[in-house]
């Protein structure tokens, strides 16, 4: 119901047409401070109703103007609930947005959509990962290397606000070179697509051999699991909302989390020195894992929130406590 700017700039949505289930969008305009990356990442945006007149002290421009500037087409005044029900049923499906003055013939468009390349077979991560190395907060007490698979700014914000120095590297950055930074810890970021396609998996396999504290988030969590020897699979109903309840194993605590993923870790395939940390309270899928002896953590959800609830920010504190 809030967070459209964050969602549109989330690199995990790269290349997708985003459909918003809450019908009133654009109310508070667009404020660059809310960006999760430099620009909107989606290919198209579909809403039920949007406003031409945003109202908020922090608004810099309207949603329409912003999307127009980035040449991102939008569609409104359709039954988004009907569409969401279909997406729920069929999962993520290829789609085509057409702008036309004349009546549109549907059949050729369905054909066109069907012939679109499967985004999951593409290397989406390469499209959103950084090309250069960025260093944040160089004065920080500890140094963390971040493998950028399409990182949200929220993750970087959450870490540097806790006083660490960060080195952001591309997703295909080799392990040896990462170690040259002499990091105190490693973070594997979120990102789009199928984890099995990720070039970072072998890097993480190599780094797991080092005694390095690691935190994997979302896609990073899946990459971590793959590197540890577990398998991932495509979910029937992906998790794409801000109200995903996650149970912490061995406790009675349940956290509300923000999520955006179509793949999940098959908890049954985890090697014996790993344990399940969080489980989704609705569908029982894996939401987090940790190494039984070493300081290695992975969470499927977004502890940095933005958009969404801030209940699990403590994950960052937990990670930082374990830095060398």
């Amino acid at each position: 119901m809030v967070g459209y700017v964050e969602a549109l700039t989330d690199p995990s949505y790269h290349g997708q047409i985003l459909v918003q289930s809450f019908p009133l969008i654009g109310n508070y305009g667009v404020n660059p401070e809310d960006f999760e990356s430099e620009r909107p990442q989606v290919k198209g945006y579909v809403v039920s109703d949007y406003t031409e007149y945003p109202s908020h002290h922090s608004s810099r421009k309207s949603l329409r103007r912003w999307l127009e500037e980035h040449r991102i087409p939008g569609l409104y005044d359709i039954d988004t609930r009907a569409l969401v029900k279909r997406l729920r049923h069929y999962g993520v499906i290829p789609g085509v947005l057409v702008v036309s003055e004349k009546p549109v013939r549907i059949k050729p468009l369905i054909k066109e959509a069907r012939s679109l390349p499967d985004p999951n077979a593409q290397n989406l991560v390469a499209e959103v990962s950084t090309r250069d190395i960025h260093i944040y907060n160089p004065e920080g007490r500890k140094r963390v290397v971040l493998i950028d698979c399409g990182v949200k700014r929220g993750i970087i914000r959450s870490l540097i606000s806790r006083g660490v120095s960060m080195v952001r590297v591309p997703d295909d950055y080799p392990a040896e070179k990462i170690l040259e930074f002499n990091p105190d810890g490693l973070v594997i970021s979120n990102g789009p697509g199928d984890p099995a396609q990720c070039r970072a998996v072998p890097t993480v396999i190599a780094l797991l051999k080092q005694n390095l504290p690691i935190l994997g988030i979302c896609l990073g969590h899946q990459i971590l699991a793959l590197a540890a020897g577990a398998r991932t699979f495509k979910l029937k109903f992906g998790h794409r909302s801000q109200n995903q309840p996650c149970l912490e194993e061995g406790t009675r605590r349940c956290y509300l989390t923000s999520q955006n993923h179509g793949y999940a870790v098959d908890a049954g395939t985890l090697p014996s020195d790993w344990s399940i940390w969080f489980t989704n309270a609705n569908d029982g899928t894996n939401e987090g894992l940790r190494h039984k002896k070493r300081p290695i953590l992975g969470v499927q959800f977004h502890p940095e929130a933005s958009p969404g609830p801030t209940d699990t920010e403590f994950i960052f504190d937990l990670f930082l406590e374990q830095l060398r």
Binding site: N27, D34, D49, S241, P245, R252, D311
Partner: protein, 1062 residues
Amino acid sequence: MKKIKKVLLLGSGAIKIGEAGEFDYSGSQAIKALKEEGLEVVLINPNIATIQTSEFLADKIYFLPVEPYFVEKIIEKEKPGAMMISFGGQTALNCGLALWKKGVMDKHKIEVLGTSLESVEITEDRGLFNRTLIEAGLKVPRGLAVESVGDGLRAAEQIGFPVMLRSAFALGGKGSFLCYKKDELEEKLRVALSETRQVLVEEYLEGWKEIEYEVIRDRADNCLAICNMENIDPMGIHTGESIVVAPSQTLTNSEYHRLREIAFRAVRKLSIIGECNIQYALNPENGDYRIIEINARLSRSSALASKATGYPLAFMAAKLMLGYTLPELKNPITRATTACFEPALDYVTIKIPRWDLKKFARVSRKIGSEMKSVGEVMAIGRNFEEALQKALRMLQIGMYGFVGNENYSFRNLEKELSNPTDERIFGIAEAFRKGWSVEKVASLTRIDPWFLHRMKDLVDMEKRLRSYSLKSLPYELLLEAKKKGFSDKQIAIFTSSSEAEVRERRRQLKISPSVKQIDTLAAEYPAKTNYLYLTYNGREDDVRFRPSRKKIMVLGSGPYSIGSSVEFDWCAVNTVRVLRQLGYQTLMVNYNPETVSTDYDMCDRLYFDELSFERVLDIYEKEKPAGIIISMGGQVPNNLALKLHQAGVRVLGTSPESIDRAEDRHKFSRLLDELRIDQPPWKEATSLEEARKFCDRAGYPVIIRPSYVLSGAAMSLVFEEKSLEKYLKKASLISPEHPVVISKFITGAKEIELEAVASRGKIVASAIIEHIENAGVHSGDATTVLPPQKLYLETIRRVRLIGEKIARALKITGPFNLQLLARENELKVIECNLRASRSLPFVSKVSRIPFIELAVRAMLGLPVSNGRSIFELNHVGVKAPQFSFSRLKGADPRLGVEMASTGEVACLGDDLNEALLKAMLAAGYRLPEKSILLSLGGEKNKQKFLDAARMLEKTGFKISATEGTSRFLKRQRIENFMLFKIHEKRQPNLQDYLLEKKVDFVISVPDPGKPAAFDSDYRMRRLAVDLGIPVITNLQLAESLVNAFASRKIESLKIKSWDEYD
């Protein structure tokens, strides 16, 4: 799980301003949650019209006051292991706190479930509250708790004017004032400190956004924010008086989640277990915030949040209070996912308060920091405009939506916008129509421009529509109008056509609404929910429709207002229950978020939507049920009967033509004449001259009923020729096409009601109710007795005969209610309603005759067996009205022909005196301990009260009296102390005695010969009400009460549960 067997639950008592039907909803849910755990539930609630006090919910019900004295007695008797005090509003919470402070819980080893009383106390004590939250690093309004006028003034200097004055232990914002100047503050401080020990002087946060969160927390420290809400009317207007939208619309992600996080910090600090409401002020310039209030109990807002999200907050809160953790519970809407989640909405809801300020003499119509509204509606739409227009129609105040309304005007529009009354929303429409800019309206109202732009869109839409005829109206524009919530009626007004023509045009163009589910998850998971609404912003229905002969549609009551309250919800809910027991599928239509009928587990399908002809027909056409019941929801559905019938809808029960014959005064009066049933003299007049002639002959006062095709024109009581002319001329109500019916208004006669169910014109069950007050007091404000105690057998026999005649003539099938006047044995019929009446729950529960079941069976054409006779009862039930005058600044508490009570209570006793005394205590009256003031207007009143005055003296009460009354009593050798009236400004003056509470009960009976406007006792009555001193203004009630005082002490009132009576 905790080891408890029996739980005592406190209800909230009568419906009053600030405490309404929402606590029937929350209490009912709590009972369901407790019963599911196999616990025994003992309920205390004198509100007999509630659903929670039905046989099928609690195990034991006490119709007794929710007051420490009675609750302690019940505890001694029932010995419960635990208690719940957070489901009965402020009444239950205050009562629980008082008992706890007295040590009653410790003494009887009772556990109070949920949030600890220590924490509750923090939320109730402003000073403690502020200290605790500041300690937790949270921001509260700058302010100081003071206990004296001097300290209050100093605090205000420190904070800077304007300041807000609040008093602790308040419900619905009572005792909060905005003060701009020092002398104003001084006066208000004095009044506030007379009611409570401590008040708070606070910084004023005018124009800040007002945001609310509904939060739950379990004992494992899991916290959820189930719903957030944004008041469209910013700070300065009580949230109960505000138009509220859920979810919030103008907050960013970071604001939303920051406030959510702060809410969790606050509830953790307070160790809340269960439900809690937190209110914020949010600075629209920079996002700064203050926590305004925390209610550690179920509230009006939590009821609204439950209906807005589909998440049953009260039910879940009860489970958490029993010790469950959230992940252990299932989401009852999806039945597949966990309850530990926050609902995602794919629609928007708008709540609008329903005011009834026109009903009160002298009351200010300004809205502000005190609550005055008596009910509310909630509308659901897929955009703001759709929801807003629906909601405005739902109010049932004659408005067609945001635009297209006729019956209002503003003398000073700027003032209306900046200093609002209950009609400001229509003032905004007016402003845009005049071409005012959003900026101008925003600066006057301080309403966020986002909302105003949306409102302006509607005015622009009206303009576009007006440039077409229905025939030339393009498809796209008609569809767009429907998507923006325009009703057929509105479109008809703009295109100079009729509602039926617009409907027909829509049918041709295949423009129809879609049915959508409320599933708490925005369609992310498949849900089996039956909670539905209609929208034009959709292209498919979420559910399928199967026509069935075993499917019945039931219409609910709409908003609570003066005269229509929880009793109709009780009727509707019980109708649905009976139908389900008989194997029928049920569809409920209602939109009042305070009701049990809008709980999705009461019926097979809940349509949370408009009770308009258009919408009911939309649903009927989709669902194709076997029939529709319109007689159980009060006047709102009843008014639709004829129109639906004419549109081909099968209306069950009495034929709509008969309903029309009873509703149309002219037809009804003629019918009575035909049946040779006596009625007050009447005349149908087509000209002023004719009207005047009749009145001269029959004598004033008279009741004028305009032709009922003229909507919005209410009946009126006229005392003299001048006002007759004024009334008829002003409204141009009279013409040959629109005659008025004038009847003589009879006072001084006894009033009787017949409550009955008939089947094909034959009465199958009936009960006769006796009013204590003579005719002249609205029947809704009367104190009523069942079975009758002072009626002749012959009178009763004749009432029955009249009832039978009318039932036969109108071929009544279903419930009906007849009102009669009796003088000696002469009976006159004054009114007849062919629907369930306000008294039905009272009559059903006192007599245990299943009126609803009989009525439903009759309407379905099933065999109906005779109920038992009320004359076999060994107990007496008394129903007493509950007034909310203390909240309505300036209102005269004098009773008259306009109904003024907001609710009612009823208690049982072995005799009239016992039941009456219990009922009066339950309605908030306190027994006099110091002195009773008598002020009897007119010679007749004085004479009539003489015996009662003697009895007061004999019983040992101290009597004070105003000058004339005092002299009269002294002549009769009744000792009394004379006090001058307030306006006489002489000593000893009544004002001081009231202020010092040396007088703690007022009997002020106005002279019936004098119109209310010239009543010099108004100030006395008003001051007494402001000071919380009981005021009685009716002679018969005063006499009955004196009898009760004389015969009964509070200790002698029996603590008996409902099932112990018979």
